[in-house]
């Protein structure tokens, strides 16, 4: 069953079409990779889906609700939450408090939120950082904090915007393990990523965007062998099987 469905979604800013006529479905429990060159409209699409922008045309359906133009907080309450390409820690709050903010989406009790948040920190292996100020964390831990924070909102669908950007291979590997662990819990994920190795490893299906349009869709293997995708984005080496 599709948990998220995009039907002919377009978004333009004045005359500039950032997304045009994008349609795809994300199956419940699956991981969907979203790739494409810089400026392809991946983040704009995330902004449309999570309510920061209202699509110019088309329809976004999440768990049977049409969510076009629904505010981000309502979208989050429905069970869909996103992370940010450029991480946004609440710098003057502690790591635990950051995660608590996510948990408070589901509870009014600060105490319950604290317990929930502590569990998420264990999942990302940051329980020893609980009392640190979020502003003082290095980038790898900021990305993990971002993951713990969205998990605390008890989502059914996660939209991860380049959670591996700027990380070293070990840190990236941690995140890949985390993404797979989240899948184990039955949470659906849409992952924007430039790291093709990671995309190949985690995705069940991949959608390729180019100049705002959907260029291709299929299994990771289909996509990397698609001539259009090779020309527009990947270049030759990857399809040769070096990955």
């Amino acid at each position: 069953m599709a948990i998220l469905e995009l039907n002919h979604v377009s978004k333009s800013f004045g005359g500039l079409a950032a997304n045009s006529d994008v349609s795809f479905r994300v199956e419940e429990g699956a991981i969907m990779g979203l790739i494409g060159p810089n400026g392809a409209g991946k983040t704009t699409l995330f902004n449309c889906i999570t309510g920061y922008y209202s699509p110019t045309r088309g329809e976004i359906v999440f768990r049977g609700h049409r969510i076009n133009g629904l505010q981000p907080d309502k979208v989050c309450k429905l069970g869909m939450v996103r992370t940010w390409q450029k991480v946004r820690p609440l710098t003057k709050l502690s790591v635990l408090e950051n995660v608590m903010i996510g948990a408070l989406c589901r509870t009014n009790s600060v105490k319950a939120a604290r317990e929930l948040a502590a569990r998420q920190l264990e999942l990302v292996k940051m329980e020893n950082r609980a009392d640190f100020l979020a502003g003082g964390l290095p980038i790898g831990e900021r990305k993990k904090l971002e993951m713990a924070r969205v998990l605390a909102t008890d989502p059914q669908l996660l939209l991860l915007d380049e959670v591996m950007g700027g990380l070293n291979p070990t840190e990236s590997d941690d995140i890949i393990q985390l993404i797979l662990a989240i899948k184990e819990r039955g949470i659906t994920q849409v992952v924007i990523e430039h790291d093709m190795k990671a995309i190949m490893r985690v995705s069940d299906r991949v959608v390729v965007l180019n100049s705002g349009e959907k260029l291709a869709e299929g299994t990771p293997v289909d996509v990397v062998n698609n001539q259009l995708v090779i020309d527009a984005y990947l270049g030759k080496a990857i399809s040769d099987g070096t990955v």
Binding site: T50, Y52, Q71, P72, D73, C76, K77, V81, R82, W84, R88, P89, L90, T91, K92, L93, E97, M100, I101, G102, L104, C105, R106, N108, S109, V110, A113, R149, V150, T153
Partner: protein, 348 residues
């Protein structure tokens, strides 16, 4: 250990403040203490919207003035005792806060600041021009207050300053306690999340408009009560003393100097500012200088001091703000925390 120590200090301070009227007779000391509490109340309530939620309102005179005017007008025109009238003021202040919030919270950052100033100026000009209600620029003077009775027994007739002292002390304590409770509740966490990053908070299920309005209403309620108290205490309201931009700015400065976003910041800021400015305003400092004999009252410089030092409180504000911004950008409380953590690290 640290929190135990601060609890003991807190209890001792409260006890000292409670028994203060037993040992002090000077009405002037009472006056300064009352102003200090008043400044703490408005600073603490500003802190809820400005410090916790990060929405720098420079228009809090609107709420202060509304509380003051409603209490005063109801007492003078309708003979409603102020301790009841102030609640009508609070009701009006809540409505005004919601109207201001629904308009201004569409704006962010500096645009919100400018809008808050504009709205407060509109309120001031209204007070100036709605002459039938507010008596315009001349203001309203109340020469006597109704006695406060419970079951026919006169509890106080408000002739001495003592009842005002206790009322303002209780209000200050209540405001600080409420601010503390708010900060440690879901509300407080949502406020702080919005302050730190509104978009990130929005994505995590926090409705920024709702929580900003909630913060503004809580803040406005206590500012309005303080306004009502001030009107009754001074016995006079006019647009210049309760609605001016000066008031709005002073409220913010108390917080900047003490430490924005901290529970005790507004209290510390008030302790630093209120006594000095009051002493300057009533020429106590000039007299003290003459007493030391360093400057003769008759000399050229002496008469200069006598004439001008009373107006120097604005200068003192200015100097304090510059010093704080240069050397303690997080206010006195922030500075003290930094020292404290350095000290602890040094020990460890």
């Amino acid at each position: 250990m640290g929190s135990r120590l601060s609890n003991i200090i807190l209890l001792l301070t409260l006890a000292a403040l409670f028994f203060f009227p037993r040992f002090v007779e000077s009405p002037y000391a009472f006056h300064i203490m009352i102003l200090l509490f008043l400044s703490t109340i408005v600073g603490t309530s500003w802190n809820i919207i400005g410090g916790y939620t990060g929405q720098y309102s420079i228009g809090h005179a609107a709420y202060f003035g509304t509380g003051a005017y409603v209490t005063m007008v109801l007492m003078k025109d309708k003979q409603i005792p102020p301790w009841l009238g102030v609640w009508a003021g609070v009701a009006l202040v809540i409505i005004i806060a919601l109207v201001i919030g629904s308009i201004c919270f569409r704006l962010r950052g500096p645009y919100f600041v400018l809008a808050s100033i504009a709205v407060a100026e509109i309120m001031r000009l209204s007070a100036m021009n709605l002459k039938e209600l507010t008596n315009g620029a001349e203001g309203i003077l109340a020469t006597e207050l109704p006695a406060f009775r419970i079951g026919g027994r006169v509890l106080t007739d408000f002739v001495s300053k003592t009842p005002f002292y206790y009322i303002s002390l209780v209000l200050a304590v209540v405001t600080i306690v409420v601010a503390f409770l708010v900060l440690h509740s879901k509300l407080g966490y949502c406020f702080q999340a919005i302050r730190e990053d509104q978009d990130a908070a929005h994505a995590l299920g926090i409705n920024p408009t709702f929580y900003k309005n909630a913060a503004l209403v809580i803040s406005a309620i206590f500012t309005g009560i303080a306004g009502g108290f001030y009107a009754i205490y001074v016995g006079f309201v006019d647009p210049a003393t309760v609605m001016s931009l000066d008031i709005s700015v002073q409220i913010v400065l108390v917080c900047i100097i003490g430490g924005i976003g901290t529970i005790y910041g507004p209290l510390i800021g008030s302790i630093l500012i209120v006594p000095i400015t009051e002493a300057l305003r009533s020429n106590l400092i000039a007299e003290a200088i003459f007493k030391t004999g360093m400057v003769s009252q008759e000399s050229h410089f002496g008469s200069f001091l006598k004439e001008n030092l009373a107006h120097a409180h604005a200068l003192i504000y200015g100097i304090l703000v510059v010093l704080v911004i240069l050397f303690m950008p997080e206010g006195v409380v922030g500075f003290q925390r930094k020292l404290w953590s350095k000290w602890n690290k040094g020990l460890g």
